[in-house]
Symmetry: C2
Subunit: 297 residues, 2 copies
DNA sequence: TAAAAATACTCCATAGGTATTTTAT
DNA sequence: ATAAAATACCTATGGAGTATTTTTA
């Protein structure tokens, strides 16, 4: 049984004429007659009564017409549905992200994605970076947003936001009035440091590296803090100073001022991460949108 | 979209391997790969993840697999159903018949038909011959059983039972003891005659013809009787004699004896009748069975 | 390196075209 | 006589085969 023949059959049945059906099908009449004849031969059933002024379906043809229509519609719908799934236009995607991602990186990505793929169900879950990696491996989330780099051979990463580190100072600090600050100026100050290792290796590493290049090693009054809000809160309380991503300024926390460094600013990168071997079309759609929203500030 | 490709796709998905699927499909691997590739191209969707030890369906492939199975099953069922309708194995058939048909002609036909076409719904309606013709024209019955001939260009007929006429005598009749009777012997007796014209032209005609050949014209004590039972009843009541189809002997009506004629017996024909242009497969099935049960007694 | 899929080519079956005949009103 | 379907024949697309290469675990 051939779909082409089924379509031809429906056309002939609907037009009640080989000639008209052939026109409608943009072909000539003889091959159409042939195809119908072969369909009848294959089924072992006469589908049309041929008269001198057209054609009429038999009882068996009546049944086939009904079923063929149903089948053709179903094939049409299936085609569309498969295409939409294949193009990542429908489905679901679960995304894990560190809280800071929602300051700057995530909003435009989500706006864009929801507009372009309105039929994808998005599940958003705020979580710690190490949990993102763990859940990614477990297949419980499809992608994550955290500070790069992430060294894992089974995980692929792509930067979506590169931003400079700025110095967070208590507003009571002597340097609070300056336009820019040289990092060396706070070499003796107590530092609030972000978590390292599996937690936020990227951020921690960049902070340490920046201090090292400025010629000192920071004196940690508090370390392994993983929430940026907490770091800023501690700075506001006068506990110490900190180097934080520039987007943190969006917090507008009272008691804290942010200063660009006068030297070349160290930068940190926030990126999307996903399983290397994952081939889901929805993920591909999301990654495309995410990459398209790369921002370098 | 091509059913062949759909079948190929299902095979590859189920075997999770082009090689094994090709074996199962009794073809070689390269054209199978080709067909799948073309299917993917046509849909614009990747259906398989190719690995070095086989193949795995993608999300879109998963959906297509489900739907393709459903579609293929539906096509299979449709094919069978259409074939059964086309072969007259399912459907309904309404049959009109004169009461005498149930004596001899109808029973074997019905037995046979019900055995060979158990899924055809049979509707049986006893009716007068003229009503059979009328209902046939009106499309209210599909076939009829009545005494031939029937002159009607739009109606086709086929004899299913040819039987001799026998002489019905009251058992008190002087000739009741004879083995056979010469028709001329009852030339002076009162006759009970069957209806003529549209009613039963065949039977009436044969009776008149037989008498004419025997050299007399029957004296009708009662005419236009259309039920054979009634004729026999009148004979039993001593009203007169009658020529009736031999199968009437099955009635075993008391008070009546049946005598074969010593001359060459006139015969009557009971036949199936149907609309000439009717092409229904169920009717064809019925006619085939009816013709196969032709009996010449 | 071994197993599986992809590529390159060749061949032929068949869908579709044109010209014509048949059929039924 | 006309209109529609059937038949005959031809061409060419594309499905399937064989041989071979590429890929990845």
């Amino acid at each position: 049984m051939d779909l082409r023949r089924l379509r031809y059959f429906v056309a002939v049945a609907e037009e009640a004429s080989f000639n008209r059906a052939a026109q409608k099908l943009h072909m000539s009449q003889p091959p159409l007659s042939n195809q119908i004849k072969q369909l009848e031969k294959e089924l072992g059933v006469v589908l049309f009564e041929r008269t001198s002024r057209g054609v009429r379906v038999t009882e068996a043809g009546e049944l086939l017409l009904e079923e063929a229509r149903r089948i053709l519609v179903q094939i049409d719908q299936t085609t569309r549905a498969v295409q939409r799934v294949g193009n990542g236009e429908v489905g679901r995607l679960t995304l894990g992200f560190v809280p800071s991602a929602s300051d700057e990186a995530l909003p435009p990505i989500l706006t864009d994605f929801r507009e372009r793929y309105p039929e994808v169900e998005l599940f958003l879950r705020e979580m710690r970076p190490n949990l993102i990696v763990q859940r990614l491996h477990a297949g419980q989330i499809d992608a994550g947003l955290l500070y790069l780099p992430l060294e894992d051979p089974t995980i692929e990463t792509e930067c979506v936001l590169r931003e400079p580190l700025v110095l967070a100072l208590p507003e009571t600090h002597p340097l609070a009035a300056e336009e820019k600050v040289e990092l060396r100026a706070v070499a003796r100050e107590p530092f609030v440091l972000p978590a390292r290792y599996a937690m936020m290796p990227g951020l921690h590493g960049q902070v340490m590296e920046a201090c090292r290049e400025a010629g000192f090693s920071p004196d940690a009054v508090q370390k392994d803090v993983w929430l940026m809000q907490t770091i800023v809160g501690l700075v506001a309380g006068g506990i110490g100073v900190a180097l934080v991503p520039a987007s943190l300024r969006n917090l507008r926390r009272r008691g804290v001022v942010y200063k660009f460094l006068s030297e070349l600013s160290p930068t940190v990168e926030l990126g999307v991460v996903w399983r290397k071997e994952e081939r889901s079309a929805v993920l591909a759609s999301f990654l495309e949108v995410a990459k398209h929203n790369f921002k370098n500030t």
